[in-house]
Amino acid sequence: MRTVQFREAVREAMIEEMERDESVFLMGEEVGHYNGAYKVSQGMLEKFGDKRVIDSPITECGFAGLGIGAAMVGMRPIIEFMTWNFSLVAYDQIINHASKIRQMSGGQISCPIVFRGPNGPANQLGAQHSHSMEAMYTHFPGLKVIAPGTCKDVKGLLKSAIRDPNPICFMESEVMYGDTGEIPEGEYTIPIGVGDIKREGSDVTIIAWSKMVKVALATAEALAAEGIEAEVLDPRTLRPLDEELIVQSVKKTGRCVIIEEAFPFNGVGSEIAFRVQSRCFDDLDHPVARLNSLDVSAPYNRKVEQSIRPTPDKAAALVKKVLYME
């Protein structure tokens, strides 16, 4: 094992896959000469040249579509959105095009492409720059959506995503790029669609992904001090969702709390809750509960903003409620 930053794990995945496969390229705003707005692609232009690491003008619709077209003829594009907020101007390309090519062509043509970049709020970026976009993409058959929460997972899953023959939305997190974590020494991949128990426990299942995995683990630790053993389940892939793992865990614990940074209404949490109540109805001692950001556009004040987000404190209180402890 060695310790790397989250951004390095992302970068390693891209570099290894670009070395392995000539048809992989990286395109996005400031990915080359600037070394990435968040330094994720640091050094990659120098390594691969401007044929394969391509700075794009500000044309998300254009270069997302370009990637899709290139993928249709066998390239393996990695399209970086500086943040997923900007994917909204390319939304039609992903939803109406990437996700449907295989189906509309009767299986003749596929679209092996990875759209990636930071997702979710960072600090004080205001209403337009603080979206958690998972649910806007999980809705559509044809797409896969991945939102890893650790350095190990992000590298292994991004490598799998680049090799996958389907269009994939790969969501990182700006405020995690500096986090460090251990990853295996040699080459490895992590399969898409397989969740991971980040901590075992018997009293309650906390489901969380991406940045919220840390919140879930902190919550579990705090609860452990009070004698409550929470299982932390990270689906890692949101579509396809590892429903079996979730069901297994909830059947064991009988309680389920979902921590999600997105708005509550129609978040991915609502889908998970639907499935859990569907399949674990008789095992549940309490309704599935969820903790989201408050249902308001992101305010600019740092403290106020922090207070609308899920935190270990709020999550612990919710878990106790689910355990009928207050």
């Binding site: 619709c61 579509g65 077209g69 249709m72 109406n96 090519i101 295989r102 189906q103 003749q108 043509i109």
Partner: protein, 343 residues
């Protein structure tokens, strides 16, 4: 031509000199016969579609290409088989010109498993990977970035291919078109954008959709090469597009072309076309692409018998396609999930 008043004059179909005629005789006769045959086949296929639609064998949106056949046939004549083409939902003609069989077309329209897209895509979404027909797209303008991407791939892989992307006058103002052209010009990609300016987007004439009705002027914003000509003389079309293809293949440079043309039918089957006059339509039919081609061919000595034979061959082809489509099986609902993802 009502909509042209503010624009520069269009290229007229050239009158042939004797020498030209002789050269043509030797070099081009066979080709011209093929173009004629293809244009005729497209028209008859589309007529068969209209009939099948009225018999409710075809459903959904159905946009016919009748009147514009020379554009697809002339353009494909300037290409190699490896080159990519994309177009809008008005895609039957281009698919046929690029090599899709009438059977695959008609079966797709009848929503059968033997159709080009297994009956999943339908009229607006024709794909034929073997012939590099890369779709049939329904969101106005949104396929232009895809075309730019195919051209990007060709430049990246140095495979020498050219991508031809058709779109309508209605797409000239949409954002995706602007972004696609911006990138193609900046990165010097081997792609040709062809606006089939048939002077209407649904019921809206150019005068109410564009402040500059000559859509090739958009090229100025990108420093891109441009061209503009009428869309009824298949030879002229082929030759002019060939120049853009050469520019793309040899110099890796994009071109923006406006072809002025006219659809004889409504926008789709549900459109009664109340926004234009019978006279206007008749005026354009006088310059029909089949008439112009026939005129050349007569000059080359093609006789009435041969024309009759064309009709017969094409009729057989279309009848066979309809029968084939009619008798083909439907992809069962149980198989749909296969098409969500590939392993």
């Amino acid at each position: 031509m009502r909509a042209l008043n503010q624009d520069p004059p269009l290229e007229k179909p050239p009158a042939m000199s004797r020498i030209e005629r002789e050269v043509l005789q030797v070099e081009e006769k066979a080709k011209l016969l093929k173009y004629y045959r293809d244009m005729l086949a497209i028209r008859r296929v589309e007529e068969a579609c209209a009939k099948a639609y009225s018999q409710q064998k075809i459903g959904g949106f159905l946009h016919l290409y009748i009147g514009q056949e020379a554009v697809a046939v002339g353009a494909v004549a300037a290409l190699k088989p490896d080159d990519y083409v994309l177009t809008t939902y008005r895609d039957h003609g281009l698919a046929y010109a690029k090599g899709m069989s009438a059977r695959a077309i008609m079966a797709e329209l009848f929503a059968k498993e033997t159709g080009c897209s297994k009956g999943l895509g339908g009229s607006m979404h024709f794909f034929d990977a073997a012939n590099n027909m890369m779709g049939g797209w329904g969101i106005v303008g949104s396929h232009l970035p895809l075309a730019t991407g195919m051209a990007f791939a060709s430049k990246y892989r140095k495979d020498g291919r050219v991508t031809l992307c058709f779109y309508g006058d209605g797409a000239a103002s949409i954002g995706a078109a602007h972004e696609a052209m911006s990138l193609a010009a900046l990165w010097k990609l081997p792609v040709i954008f062809i606006c089939e300016n048939n002077m209407y987007s649904m019921g809206t004439p150019l005068s109410r959709s564009l402040s500059v009705e000559d859509t090739s002027q958009k090229a100025l914003a990108y420093g891109m090469a441009r061209d503009r000509f009428e869309g009824n003389d298949v030879l002229l079309i082929r030759n002019r597009i060939a120049e853009a293809v050469r520019r793309a293949r040899e110099e890796s440079l994009p071109t923006l072309i406006e072809v002025r043309c006219y659809r004889y039918r409504g926008h789709s089957m549900s459109d009664p076309g109340l926004y234009r006059t019978k006279e206007e339509i008749e005026e354009f039919k006088q310059k029909d692409c089949l008439l112009i081609a026939r005129n050349y061919m007569e000059q080359l000595g093609v006789g009435e018998d041969e024309f009759k034979n064309f009709e017969k061959v094409v009729k057989d082809e279309v009848d066979d396609a309809v029968k084939f489509a009619d008798e083909s099986p439907v992809l069962p609902v149980e198989r749909l999930e296969e098409f969500n993802y590939i392993d």
